[in-house]
């Protein structure tokens, strides 16, 4: 069966070039980069090269990159490490639409004593920067605002936000897991202090991520017990995966234009096709400030899991903010924060593309989706003739 993978915000295919770059580190170059002997020590230069590759993609200095096990670890380290370094439990400001790796950590810190402010978004998923400004008090220390939303693709004006944060003298963390590799990011041009990224969202394998820590920003380590990563993250380096992440970042830089032009064109064709062929649908999220690969559509009167399973039958992989797909009983917190009524949130579907998609993938989806939507609406008691 044809396989059309439109769930790239969940995870991406490992690029063949990345796989090839990793292979020697499973075969001959398996030494420990901390070893004094040549067999191990020679591996260190490849870790350094990978660090330079990651740093280059986001405009950082290599010394500002800490390799981690995943994006969630980066988020945990940024928030818990910065709070611990600050001492006590400072006021934290975040948003209502963060990934659970940020939201759960903020609430955890909130339960332990931090005052927590979760900024609202409007119906398009946008922040009100005046509200941010008003929320910052003398006790505010850490502000964590995602760069791009995983469900809707909405991009927050992080450069502008970081400037407000800098003026207030606070620490700015951004979860840029969905942004890095899809859109240009340059930490030299912003006042972001901490930035999380993840390997498997940009065609590296699962199990590797990184945290950018601006020089001078104090973050305590989560994992103690070794000098690795400048003492910021103990544990023998996961060399093959770190090398893979470095290569993936190089490829992302090379393919950035393609992502923004060809991938966006495919996404736009999918969006226009769906809006033209299915009645009672709407696009969730700010269409003008959105990742070029992401489309979140709400189908009225039908339920997301049923749509996904019918898409699956014709080989199309997508995801949903519906309650039923996750086993929870309420739809996604992002849809709820945007005030998308429950009635429409249950039928929201996210399509997320990558440079490995083709125009045929879009055609295949547009060929089957209207039939699936019609079929489920025939079953629905809420559709009136």
């Amino acid at each position: 069966m044809r396989n059309v993978y439109l769930d790239n915000n969940a995870t991406t295919m490992v690029a063949p070039e990345v796989r090839d770059a990793m292979a020697p580190f499973f075969e001959e170059l398996w030494g420990n980069p901390s070893s004094i002997h040549t067999f191990g020590g020679q591996v260190k230069q490849y870790v350094d090269e990978a660090r330079a590759g990651v740093a280059a993609l986001i405009g950082a200095d290599p010394s500002e990159i800490v390799f981690t096990g995943c994006g969630s670890e980066s988020d945990n380290m940024a928030l818990r490490g910065a709070v611990e370094a600050a001492g006590g439990y400072p006021h934290i400001i975040t948003t209502r639409v963060e990934h659970p790796a940020v939201m759960t950590v903020c609430r955890y810190l909130g339960d332990r004593g931090s005052k927590l402010t979760e900024l609202r978004v409007d119906s398009e998923g946008r922040l009100d920067l005046d509200e941010l400004q008003d929320s910052i008090g003398s006790d505010t220390d850490i502000i964590s605002i995602m760069w791009a939303n995983n469900e809707t693709g909405v991009i927050f004006p992080v450069e502008e936000i970081a400037e407000i944060v800098k003026q207030a003298g606070c620490v700015m963390h951004t979860d840029a897991v969905q942004m890095v590799g899809k859109m240009p990011v340059d930490v030299k041009e912003t006042s972001v202090d901490l930035l999380s990224l993840s390997g498997h969202k940009l065609h590296a394998p699962k199990g590797v991520g990184a945290l950018y820590v601006r020089k001078g920003t104090k973050v305590n380590p989560l994992i103690l017990g070794g000098h690795q990563e400048g003492g910021k993250r103990a544990g023998t380096e996961n060399v093959p995966y770190i090398v893979g992440l470095g290569r993936a970042c190089e490829l992302a830089a090379e393919n950035m234009e393609e992502e923004r032009v060809r991938v966006k064109a495919m996404r736009d064709r999918l969006e226009e096709g769906i809006l033209a062929s299915c009645p009672d649908v709407h696009v969730n999220g700010d269409r003008d400030n959105r990742l070029p690969n992401t489309l979140n559509v709400g189908f009225e009167f039908i339920e997301g899991e049923a749509i996904l399973l019918m898409l699956d039958e014709v080989g199309i992989a997508a995801s949903s903010g519906s309650a039923c797909t996750s086993g929870s009983l309420e739809p996604s917190h992002v849809m709820r924060a945007m005030g998308v009524p429950f009635t429409a949130a249950h039928g929201s579907i996210r399509f997320s593309l990558s440079r490995y998609n083709t125009d045929d993938d879009v055609s295949h989806t547009l060929e089957h989706l209207p039939r699936i939507v019609n079929r489920l609406r025939e079953l629905s008691p809420f559709v009136k003739d």
Partner: protein
């Protein structure tokens, strides 16, 4: 990925008896768009009082659609006395089992059938009658329903009850009460985990101020979009008494508005145990 049986997948892909019967003998409607699943069941009897034809319409996930389809196949040809004895377990078994978190789909089938039979016998509208006292205000589940589900399915934990009828799966404020019901039915004590952090202690004045702020910031703007408004009438402990104004006052969707737009933010920003009640001006 849900672990659905082949039979669930088959009934989802090829549901039987889809549609609405014209001039039915009985109609049952349960669930709502807001809850995430809903089922409308219609049947017609033959001269011997057996179910000659039955049709359904379902909004919901694969297991909700499959459960509805299975229900119609099970009850076709039955008398109403026979159909009345069909339990949610029969529906799940017919499908070769359902994932635990999806058992509520089979319960929805049984409830729609009961509502349709009641509609035939009493002529009362085919929506579900609430019997007993509402325990879970998020999903509108009563104590007698929880008792029945615990008994029919031999359930022993609050999580089970949530999987079977959603009760306790929203704000979680009723989990302790659900545990008491399970204990009473089973005649043994049940421990309940409290995942919710304890709310911070605030004075009554602070609480009322917080409620007013939340109404002003979160609730009123959304009601005004639709030409409605709301007024805070009184606060008595965890009961918040409000009155709808303008368009909201006559709106048929008011129960939905109450739960989604008024109660949910108050629970989020003030306290998990808040119950909002409407008082007519």
């Amino acid at each position: 990925m849900w672990d659905y049986t082949d039979k669930v997948k088959e009934h989802f892909s090829h549901p039987r008896n889809v549609g609405l019967i014209e001039e039915p003998d009985g109609v049952g409607e349960v669930g709502s768009l807001a809850c995430g699943d809903a089922l409308k069941l219609t049947f017609k009897l033959d001269d011997d009082g057996r179910i000659a034809d039955v049709k359904f319409q379902t909004f919901g996930c694969a297991s909700a659609i499959a459960s509805s389809s299975a229900l119609t196949e099970i009850i076709k040809g039955m008398t109403l006395d026979e159909a009345e004895k069909v339990t949610n377990k029969d529906i799940a078994e017919y499908l070769g089992g359902l994932p635990e978190q999806k058992m509520h789909c089979s319960v929805m089938g049984r409830e729609a059938l009961e509502a349709a039979i009641r509609n035939y016998r009493t002529g009362q509208t085919g929506t579900r009658e609430l019997e007993g006292k509402v325990v879970c205000t998020c999903f509108g589940v009563t104590d007698s329903e929880i008792e029945r589900i615990v008994r029919d399915n031999n359930l022993s934990s609050v999580e089970d009850v949530t999987n079977y009828c959603k009760a306790g799966g929203g704000c979680g404020g009723c989990r302790e009460e659900i545990a008491k019901i399970i204990s009473a039915v089973r005649g043994e004590p049940i421990e309940v985990e409290q995942p919710q952090p304890q709310p911070k202690r605030i004075t009554n004045i602070q609480r009322i101020n917080l409620i007013e702020e939340t109404i002003e910031r979160e609730i009123r703007p959304r009601l005004r979009q639709d030409g409605g408004d709301i007024e805070l009438v009184d606060v008595e402990g965890n009961r918040v008494l409000v009155s709808f104004r303008k368009a909201c006052a006559q709106c048929p969707a008011a129960p939905f508005t109450m739960k989604e737009i008024v109660e949910a933010p108050l629970r989020q920003f003030v306290s998990q145990d808040i119950v909002v009640e409407e008082v007519k001006p």
